[in-house]
Symmetry: C2
Amino acid sequence: MTVRRTDSVDDLVARAREGQARAVGRLISLVEDAQVGPGREQLREVMSRLAPHSGGAQVVGITGAPGVGKSTSTSALVGELRSRGLRVGVLAIDPSSPFSGGALLGDRIRMSEHATDPAVFIRSMAARGHLGGLSWATPQAVRVLDAAGYDVILVETVGVGQSEVEIAGRADSTIVLLAPGMGDGIQAAKAGILEIGDVYVVNKADRDGARQVRRDLRNMLSLAERPEGAWRPSVLMTTATDRTGTDEVVDALAAHFTHLTDSGELTRRRVRRTREEVEAIALTTLRERWGELGTDDVEELAAAVVAGETDPYAAADRLLAESGLKD
Amino acid sequence: MTVRRTDSVDDLVARAREGQARAVGRLISLVEDAQVGPGREQLREVMSRLAPHSGGAQVVGITGAPGVGKSTSTSALVGELRSRGLRVGVLAIDPSSPFSGGALLGDRIRMSEHATDPAVFIRSMAARGHLGGLSWATPQAVRVLDAAGYDVILVETVGVGQSEVEIAGRADSTIVLLAPGMGDGIQAAKAGILEIGDVYVVNKADRDGARQVRRDLRNMLSLAERPEGAWRPSVLMTTATDRTGTDEVVDALAAHFTHLTDSGELTRRRVRRTREEVEAIALTTLRERWGELGTDDVEELAAAVVAGETDPYAAADRLLAESGLKD
């Protein structure tokens, strides 16, 4: 996507900050499309313009196995946050789709009650390569929403494999959704999920077994050793279809954010994840430089290793030297 | 692991090349443990010493969903290869274990018929971080076995998510195992597996539905367009428990290797995967350098981004500049 002459990056950022959803959408598209190629310089300009306005939003990760009611819960959360006067951004990471954009039919339908609310911005993003995980464009899209002044940014992802852990690394607060009747899914998942949740929600509370899930979860969580003053994860119950219990989830999120701020943990978490983000960008830059070196150079090094003339470690040293890295 | 004074790297390499399993095992342990920290220099020495002796082995990846009979098939293959006088190395990648070593009980039992054969080397390796995927130490362990003179190296991994694709990228030849009665697993997996197999094996051929699986597979494979002279994947049937059909699998592997060699594809495949390996090592080296920069420097950059004083792209540029990378 290229920005039209009339849409300078400055204009787009200004309009996004005034709450114009179209400008927000165009900035996210620009971020998604411009990670490589000629749009890269524009991306840098966008990021540089957004920087002074960032850090205001609470980034909330929502994860859970397929079938626990993630979409419905997200929609219920949006409704509750709106009723408190907060502006809400939603990024739904779609692990099955190679396509991005705000127009996925499923999302439109399930979130339709918020579709016409100008204080709610909803976007589906493709997972691109990370199986079930977060797109590399996700952190940049979060930056756009943050600078555009959304108070809460919900990042919804399917809990498959490492994506749960990934989302916890990217969010200020993480909601882990569970539901009764998921068979041994909860047992199988428990090792992973016990580490990452700040707020646990047992959805479909009206079904048999919901209390049992809550009891099991509380027992498992009580075994974890936590340092003095650490956050103790909430375990709540909801029926997202009629929004029962959602107010308590929003209360818990607010309490967690206060805890993060007061304890200094908010800055520590953000510095940690920003560090990873900066390192990932630096590695991408370096890879691009290898691309510019010409395929032949890197290929020649690899061929020398295959021929037994050198080993991969010595070849890597030469690659770094040729990239302009001094010893 | 540190090498004892009496076990110089030269000694270990020499003894491994004489076929001493203990020396091979110690080299692999050294490779696994020494990727970071003080052992790194020893690792470099090992790789440098192994380089002139590499390239002789056929590296065979074996993948398939849980329950298709991977362990039994691997064991049957080892038996058949041994009966042809070939030396065989086996790396079993264990996605569930955070531990490495040759002593996993399950492997010992299933491979026990080969445990006392000095011409067979069996090792379990942890997947470490890559969920279901290949450990970063795997390519280096393959190098050790290759230089130690094993004729065929079998790398067995559970086909979960991307690991199938990963193993195909690392092997000269890839066996994809299937079995009847796996429900819709074959349907679900078909998109992925049709790209990667050089030899398809329908195991449990004595069960109902095996012929149907073969027919479906052949139909699906026949739809793929292949350039003139390209390898046409074999579709074979086995009953690994009594080794029925395993001789044909070994024949197909030999035919594929001949095809790779004659067509020049062998070198192309190896250069491609070695290139990835070299790049990955270069990135690790760079990350280590960031570690040496002192946590404070990188952390300070991340903190500046969090504070809105700079953006992640500008911070990445500064990180690369501070690492000694010239523009």
